[in-house]
Symmetry: C2
Subunit: 681 residues, 2 copies
């Protein structure tokens, strides 16, 4: 079993593209900028276990401001190690080495490793697993250790983490004398399963599986829900609760209201939900594929139920609770999901959170489900993965790589302008963008083959499933021989992709090329033209090229451009009651900004467009960043509520749309909107 | 100063009308049904101060289930006394007498009077004024005492309440050694000001004024917000909070986040807000008019600021936070207001509470503001008062007077069908409907005159401002002579109203007739035709008839029917993002119900209508209740999300609309909707 965080090293981005530009920016700017933030704000030194003035702050409960510092450091190490692979940097290397030394030095004799409970509340370890993020921090440290081990080829960081895993494994589990707890913020589960896949650590597997199977058990701990039991031991009244909980016992906030297999809809904190489901998919995938270095796992007899739950909760997420930018989470209070189809565009319209990390989580989940859901990949997963990448995730970082968002509302308002920040007190999102871009190569495609490599293997047989297009090359071995597969395109702006396959002469390769759902109705052209029966559009939306085709045509191209890349009007589901229209082109969702419309004073609340109005494309190169993009132009109408009430026409306005990911890079007043009033046809 | 609860006795409903039908039902059925509920559920006997099994229930915090029982009894007494005026009933009379005796027996030596703190937590009086409803219960008891005193012409109930007022007045206030508290649930303020107006009790005035002026003071109690101070004395952690509070220190829930005069928008629990503002308007009115029996009050030097706050918060309520049925409160958690323009139609679309009591509160506030806002009444207040009455309030009771609602969502869903209940654990709404219908005559009109009676008085001069139309007669004295003014109409179905004025020959009467905003553009006809200058449409939307007209025409009629009563399409404000259309006719807002559309399975979520489609009227007489109403018929289109996405036409449907107030009287599956998808023109 492979994870993108492992496989990305086999992929090289080969030619200028939006993705390559962003990766270079993250590598050269963001990694350094984030390191400076860690140094300036205290995180960098936190594993020295000295006192920091912020530890005196008691304004937030239950999680004090510094509670996630361990993970801030860990995520930076992880991202840094991904980029060191690509481009060595002496400052980054030195910082990683120093941080690792500090982490090693912070570990207790018994393996415990956590800043807050070493320095601030040393007597209270494991007394509030619901809120205190010990396991969340541990999970990110494990992920850092995996990335570190992969780049440095030593166990300087993995060693203390393996010890910490043993510590946790001794304390928590279903056995006699163990505590049946599971973390309030899932994260460690996916880290443990990656650790198991990469190192064969069976304690990691057992622990992750326990956490996943135990979660939401109403009678797990002495006949009680674990969180009830734990709260009582802390002598906390039931109605004392975090501000993120609207009601007492809002265990759905952390997906612990019922066991995962019984959850009918995705609920609560969106990042937690996505991390948890990613781990659940990992658990399922581990059970279904042999995984190289990992020791064989106990059979997962409930695998069909896990698959059904994952499909159900995926559908709940993307069909009923996702913005058309790939954002999830409408409700700020619990940073998560509202009821079905509740997707207002901004805080002044009822809510919109669309946290950056949550869409990174959707991408991880989608990538896992591409492997979990049967031999023919389902293009819906990859469509959503791409939607998130180019929109809700990419909008979270400025073009210069120095400013970030946490929330990504689809419409600004006076209280929430469209802008980015250098850093956040809770700094999860910026390093998550770093980690994602670092491992991005692992998301482009799946591949494999050779003897004993599953359904599409066999001697000399190989497969590549291409999920995302760009300009990139992947190298992988098939029965000892190297296969090289490359793609070249001007994606996301044009849909013509040139592929080249190189391998042993006897290679029998099946290639699958995703046809995005937004393009599928417009057809596609494969060149050279495939003989009948050698290229099949599968039900999942992938064009399968049989070995007979790839053997005769090592170089071929796919064109899903033309009408597929024409600007198109898109609208949310009618049950959202969001009667809005937006523009999209290829995978890019657009917005309007006041930078192009100096007359705008009301966040485009009064501007409507009509479906079918002609849209003009204009290739623009941004002066400041040098980045190119297609802008879209059409005509709209500005009509105030009073003008609408009188049924009048209002003011005709020439509108310029720019990619949502590019918003807030050009100054202005921070006024922006994705969905404009739908004025019909 | 007069209140509708006092003046209603001067008005008689004279001919069959919807209002008279409802009042008769309440008098003959509801008052008895509610008495039975009080007897069956324990409230009736609670002032005996024995133990009731419900007192053992600890499932709810801070307010246990029985906390409002005092007020349940009080509201019933109040409503019963209003109807006894109209129609003597031996059982009701006996129950009132027995209850009064029990209440008298429950009073402590020192004047304290509360069931919970006498029986369940005797040591905890006044320790949680934020949550424990002692003053709320006291307020309703005061209102009961006022109604009782008015009907029985004795002080058997007023005596203990006056003593209780003294008790509270001693304990709370701005003086040395006093506590600067104010109730979490406003209600006592309006009760105290009515008590002052009716009895001249200056302690009542001082106390109400203190509560209103002190509320939200950030440094009132020992330099702290009173609720912070009180919470600390209870040794409660800041994050322990009622389930109705989304966050810690959600003092806006009870309008105590800032002083009333500084509140920019209406926030929090809607009933609390409306009761509070009603009291604020009473305070203002008390300061501006001489008030017969009441002793002169201290001058309210901040009167202009109170008026400005009232206007501002009224506008916030009705312009930005009111449903087109007159319902207020979109959010169930705090039974109150969401952000501006956040008005989903039902709980499955993001929320809709629209509590019955809240709209009763809007009516009270509107009635007060009709007197507060200058000599020319502003028809907007009366328009909203009528909107609430015929829609959100009247829909709260079944035609048979036996079943009630608490929430009045505009669209049903599976989890919240359109139906009514016999009773509620928190039984505020049913008796509030009783109280309102009991005192309804007081809402129809203002009148007065004679020597020394304010701006439009003077010897032999009288005025009547007619706010609501029906068939009714009012008698009032002008300089010792009785004036009789009557109206006769088939309102709310037809807009022709016949008026008759009788009085001394020398009577000089100014009559103002409200032209509703929905009719004003269609014109109106006064018969006999007024000579130029004798009938003026004032800026506030009232047609003012000068004494010269009324002197020559003691019988005259107003016709605002015809086009004014044609069915019309109405829609919520565009910023609500509710792109829906509804039908209205006169003051009545309509809905569709599955009873008329047996094919409906999805709560009309998929049905759209087009503005401008012809609407047919049909007079129907309901078989079961014998009630007549105009049904409206038009054509709509049922289009599922899939059909909409494909841009197809869907299924044409003949739609029948019935008054929203009449919903859920004819069986069916409980599927109902007021706003249908707006399919344009």
């Amino acid at each position: 079993m492979s994870h993108p965080q492992t496989t990305f090293r086999q992929t090289t981005f080969t030619a200028p593209s939006l993705l390559r530009t962003r990766r270079a920016t993250v590598s050269r700017t963001t990694v350094h900028a984030q390191l400076s933030q860690l140094r300036a704000n205290g995180q960098y030194d936190c594993f020295k276990l000295g006192w920091h003035p912020i530890y005196d702050d008691r304004s937030r409960w239950p999680a004090p401001l510094h509670l996630f510092w361990d993970s801030d450091v860990a995520k930076w190490i992880e991202g840094a190690c991904y980029f060191l692979v690509e481009e060595y940097d002496v400052e980054v290397d030195a910082a990683v080495r120093e941080l690792v030394a500090m982490i090693r030095g912070a570990q207790h004799e018994d393996g415990y490793l956590n800043v807050h409970f070493s320095v601030v509340e040393p007597g209270k370890r494991w007394t509030n697993i619901r809120d205190m993020h010990e396991m969340y921090n541990a999970g990110h440290l494990i992920e850092a250790a995996l990335a570190h081990r992969q780049y440095y080829r030593n166990d300087l960081l993995m060693e203390p983490l393996a010890k910490y895993i043993s510590h946790i494994h001794r304390r928590f589990g279903p056995g006699e004398g163990q505590i049946r707890a599971y973390p309030g913020h899932p994260e460690i589960e996916l880290a443990l399963l990656r650790c198991h896949a990469a190192t064969g650590n069976t304690e990691a597997y057992d622990l992750a599986r326990f956490f996943l199977e135990e979660r939401g058990n109403p009678t797990g701990q002495e006949g009680r829900h674990y969180y009830d039991w734990e709260m009582e031991r802390r002598d906390e009244p039931r109605w004392k609760r975090p501000n993120s909980w609207p009601m007492d016992r809002s265990y759905w906030y952390c997906q612990a209201h019922v066991p995962i297999l019984e959850q009918e809809s995705v609920e609560g904190h969106a990042v937690r939900a996505m991390y948890l489901l990613t781990a659940a998919a990992d658990l399922l995938n581990t059970s279904r594929k042999s995984s190289g270095s990992a020791a064989p796992a106990r059979p997962l007899t409930a695998a069909p139920a896990w698959l059904a739950a994952l499909r159900r909760l995926w559908s709940s997420t993307v069909d009923k609770k996702m913005y058309l930018t790939g954002g999830v989470g409408a409700v700020a209070q619990w940073e998560g999901f509202g009821i079905d189809y509740f997707l207002p565009q901004g805080p002044d319209e009822g809510g919109c959170y669309a946290e950056t990390c949550a869409s990174v989580g959707v991408m991880m989940l989608a990538e896992r489900l591409l492997h979990a859901d049967g031999p023919e990949p389902n293009g819906r997963y990859a469509d959503v993965m791409e939607l998130c990448l180019y929109n809700n995730v990419m909008t979270a970082m400025s073009a210069d790589g120095k400013a970030f968002t946490y929330e990504n509302q689809l419409a600004s308002c006076e209280a929430a302008r469209s802008e980015r920040e250098d850093w956040f007190v809770c700094a999860c999102c910026p390093p998550n963008v770093t980690r994602l871009f670092g491992s991005l190569g692992g998301y482009l495609w799946d591949y494999g083959g050779g003897s004993g490599e599953g359904e599409e293997g066999g001697t000399g047989a190989a497969f590549v499933n291409v999920h995302l297009y760009s300009s990139a090359e992947v190298k992988f071995p098939v029965d000892g021989a190297e296969v090289t597969f490359s793609q070249k395109s001007n994606w996301p702006w044009e849909g013509n992709i040139l592929f080249q396959l190189k391998g042993a002469g006897s290679l029998s390769a099946t290639i699958r090329l995703r046809i995005p759902a937004w393009a599928i109705q417009h057809g596609h052209v494969l060149t050279p033209t495939p003989p009948t029966g050698t290229a099949t559009l599968e039900k999942g939306g992938y064009l399968r090229l049989d070995p007979s085709y790839t053997a005769s045509n090592p170089v071929f191209s796919l064109d899903i451009g033309g009408a597929g890349f024409a600007p198109r009007y898109i609208a949310p589901h009618p049950y959202t009651n969001q009667r809005t229209l937006s523009l999209a082109r290829g995978p890019i969702v657009y917005c309007v900004e006041d930078a192009d419309h100096p007359w705008e004073e009301n966040h485009f609340k009064d501007v409507g467009i009509k479906r079918g109005t002609a849209v003009e494309e204009e290739w623009r190169v941004d002066e400041k960043s040098g980045e190119g993009y297609f802008a879209l132009k059409t005509t709209g109408w500005e009509r105030s509520p009073e003008v609408l009430a009188r049924g009048e026409d209002g003011v005709e306005r020439e509108l310029v749309f720019v990619p949502f990911y590019f918003r807030s890079n050009r100054g202005g007043k921070g006024q922006m909107r994705v969905g404009l009033r739908d004025d019909g046809r």
